[in-house]
Amino acid sequence: MSQNVVTYKRPPLLKALKRDMQLHFWKYVLIIPILVYLALFCYKPMYGLVIAFKNYKPARGIWGSKWVGFTWFETFFKDPYFFRLLRNTFRLSAYSILFGFPAPIILALLLNEVSNNKFKRTVQTITYMPYFISLVVACSIIKIYCQADGLFSQIGQFFGAPAQNLLIDPNKFTPIYVISGIWQNIGWNSIIYLAALSGIDQEQYEAARIDGANRFEQVLHVTIPGILPTIMILFIMRMGSILNVGYEKILLLYTDATFETADVFSTYTYRMGLQSQKYSLSTAVGLFNTMVNIVFLLFTNWLSTKTTESGLF
């Protein structure tokens, strides 16, 4: 049996764009500054990436410097510290995601369950406050607490541990980095989840209660699914910067004794690029960093779209 199929023919792109612009003229005008910003500050500087393939000397300029192909990438991959940098960067990032990413979600869920507003506000204020402490001050506090005669060491001594500076032990650097990160960001990062929680339709809770769900089941079947798209989008974005661990904090906290676990791509780039003027090498490292981040972003987005049907694109 023959079947009449109605096919929709998509109009040519330019024609569609023209029509859309006629319909939404002012929206297009409003977007112009954003496009200009992106073009000037995000895309134009990208042409500088070419120095990763050159022996860049400032006086010779980008095009005047000699082409060296993948020499700087080879130098980086052959560097005795390459695998250590890779391992440290992934380790710090993985632990930060594993423990740091769920922490504000849990805090938001707990706060959502608190009915005493005064207590809720007090907890929120206390957890937000560390976020407003400058990183330098926060790291100074951490350093003082971690000294051999500092607070943490004294607590350890109370339980029989020897007096020890925690920041010279390579094995303790990762926990210090991750826990201090949670301490500083948990309150601030929970705001977006609290906002998402407030958007959940209260009728869903009512329906769940009628169905006999207790508080935990309500959280499990209503609250978490309600904020899941927000969680996934933030998770995808976080995965898109998996190799971007905060180098400022590491620079402030690491010592020669903890390079083994604390030195990461970004601190290496800082030392090579800004301190040693090896612009081509640091650009090559940065480019490698970005490529890995993009791979992770695309993979996580694909996985999220497959499993939760929510993704960035």
Binding site: T75, A148, P170, A257, F259, Q277
Partner: protein, 537 residues
């Protein structure tokens, strides 16, 4: 010991008593001020010329504003933003050669790549102009072949204006061991002069007062620290040394091994402060005031501060410089120091200056090496901040003497921390306490009876100032020498804390063998060639 101090102090006072003219500087009276007040030059100063903390910027700073009047040209100063790392700020500027200030006064770190900057025409080759437009500087360089050699490339091109100390290397040895003399007296001990005595003081202070050996890491990591008593040349920071014309890395030397082994022993026995890797000049002060340190390692300026603060807090601690310990047989290989030629404080003229501006810049820089400029750079304006004293040497006026701000002379002078100038010994005497001067004497006069031997230990072992790599060498070092410094610093920490057992021959052999992964042989080869060219200049 007291006789030694007295002898050394007397020697320095004799040096200081020599009037400025004994430096044989040309007078600038007939040249300055120039008739160029309508012309402007831009002058960048990485470190050492920051306006005093009381001023918001250089426009409020008497030294910076007076300089324009003294020279007779309008100077626009470019100073790194407060709180930023000077080296990083400089590198950021250097990334844009077309917009560099006319004069770039670089900070510590040296200028090994001068040949590259000359080749790339980032900076001017001063050779054709120096005698005519910087006669005072040129004449000063001719007074000492070592000065002249350090300020040229291998091809004989002059490229910068250096920093020189009037007293040679005396103040290059500005840091060393310090000890609480009140505790020494209480325990009936003398200043420790040998390794055994030094270790004994650490043990006695630990036993009696619970104190440990400690130091600000930024100072203790600088080579050679105390490694000289073990025949070594290096601490944590990568250090290239020269002995009998042979270049080598200090961290691959047997003396270094003995030094870190000793430090590890102190660490294991709880005699070395556990916080040493994270202590800085500020955080160590709490330990100083709490009596947690009785013997340590720091600079003369910081020791001065420790004494002042202990005095203000009513703590009876009296700190003094302790001799740099020698081996028990009296030998010592190296001491933190130099020959009084600034390793990094060099001013170059960039190609953003056209030829006429270049000549003006040369005149401006040359001023510091004239008799008048020497006095201005060291003391400020005559009859304002200083006058001639009865012994023919400058003394502060009441305005300066009564100024209670920290380092008030830096409001008016530019030679306190180092720049493109000559630092007067007398300035250091005026600036520092008697205890600090005595400390510097103690550290510098390692062999007071043998000047040649003393110079060899304080500066002769170091990679010299003014070496220049060829373009190919610089490119190759860029590719292969990036990580060797990290290998040095982190292994120092591993050896000291015992993460790696430096006394285990297998560990030590592996440590040495692994240097090849960091291209030690090739880097040494390049540096040897560079040194040989320098020596042949």
């Amino acid at each position: 010991m007291k006789k030694l101090f007295a002898l050394a102090l007397a020697l320095c006072l004799v040096l200081a008593a020599v009037p400025a003219s004994a430096l044989e500087l040309l007078s600038g009276a007939d040249i300055y001020p120039l008739d160029a007040a309508d012309k402007t030059i831009t002058w960048y100063a990485q470190d050492g010329l920051n306006p005093h903390e009381k001023f918001a910027d250089w426009k409020e700073s008497p030294f910076h504003t007076n300089m324009s009047k003294q020279i007779g040209v309008n100077i626009e100063w470019v100073i790194p933003t407060t709180g930023t790392d000077g080296g990083t700020f400089t590198n950021t500027l250097m990334a844009d050669p077309a917009n560099l200030p006319n004069i770039m006064k670089l900070g510590s770190g040296g200028f090994d790549n001068a040949a590259l900057y000359l080749e790339d025409e980032v900076i001017w080759d001063l050779t054709p102009y120096i005698q005519e437009y910087a006669p005072a500087y040129y004449a000063f360089l001719q007074t000492n072949p070592a000065y002249d050699k350090a300020m040229k490339t291998d091809d004989g091109q002059y490229y910068g204006f250096g920093f020189f100390r009037e007293g040679g290397g005396w103040n290059d040895t500005y840091q060393g061991p310090v000890v609480r003399t009140d505790w020494l007296a209480e325990q009936g001990l003398d200043f420790p002069k040998t390794l055994s005595e030094f270790e004994n003081v650490i043990r006695v202070f630990n036993e009696k007062y619970g104190a440990k050996f400690a130091a600000p890491w930024s100072r203790f990591k600088q080579s050679p620290a105390l490694s000289g008593m073990f025949g070594g040349f290096a601490a944590s920071d990568q250090q290239w040394a020269v002995q009998d014309g042979k270049v080598f890395l200090g961290q691959a030397h047997e003396g270094y091994r003995a030094y870190v082994s000793w430090l590890n022993k102190l660490w294991e026995e709880g005699l070395l402060d556990q916080d040493i890797f994270s202590l800085d000049d500020t955080s160590i002060k709490a330990k100083v005031q709490n009596g947690q340190i009785g013997i340590g390692y720091t600079s003369m300026g910081q020791m001065n501060n420790w004494n002042k603060e202990c005095d203000a807090a009513g703590i009876g601690a009296v700190w003094a410089g302790s001799p740099i310990p020698k081996a028990d047989d009296g030998s010592i290989s190296s001491v933190f120091g130099g020959f009084g030629i600034g390793t990094g404080h060099i001013a170059v003229i960039t190609k953003t200056a056209d030829e006429e501006t270049l000549k003006l810049c040369l005149r401006a820089l040359d001023y510091a090496y004239t008799q008048e400029g020497f006095l201005f750079w060291n003391y400020g304006l005559e009859n304002d901040t200083w006058v001639w004293g009865p012994e023919g040497i400058p003394v502060w006026t009441e305005k300066m003497a009564n100024d209670t701000d920290v380092d008030p002379m830096t409001k008016y002078n530019g030679a306190t921390w180092g720049s493109s100038c000559i630092q007067a010994d007398n300035l250091l005497y005026l600036k520092n306490s008697k205890a600090a001067i005595e400390a510097n004497n103690t550290w510098f006069f390692v062999f007071p009876e043998d000047n040649e031997k003393n110079l060899a230990v304080t500066g002769g072992w170091k990679w010299p100032v003014g070496t220049t790599f060829t373009l190919d060498e610089a490119d190759e070092l860029d590719l292969i020498a990036g990580s060797i410094g990290t290998y040095c610093t982190e292994n120092f920490a591993s050896f000291v804390t015992g993460t790696l057992d430096v006394d285990d021959d297998a560990v030590w052999e592996k440590y040495l063998a692994d240097f090849e992964t960091y291209n030690l042989s090739r880097i040494t080869e390049i540096r040897q060639a560079c040194y040989d060219r320098y020596a042949a200049r």
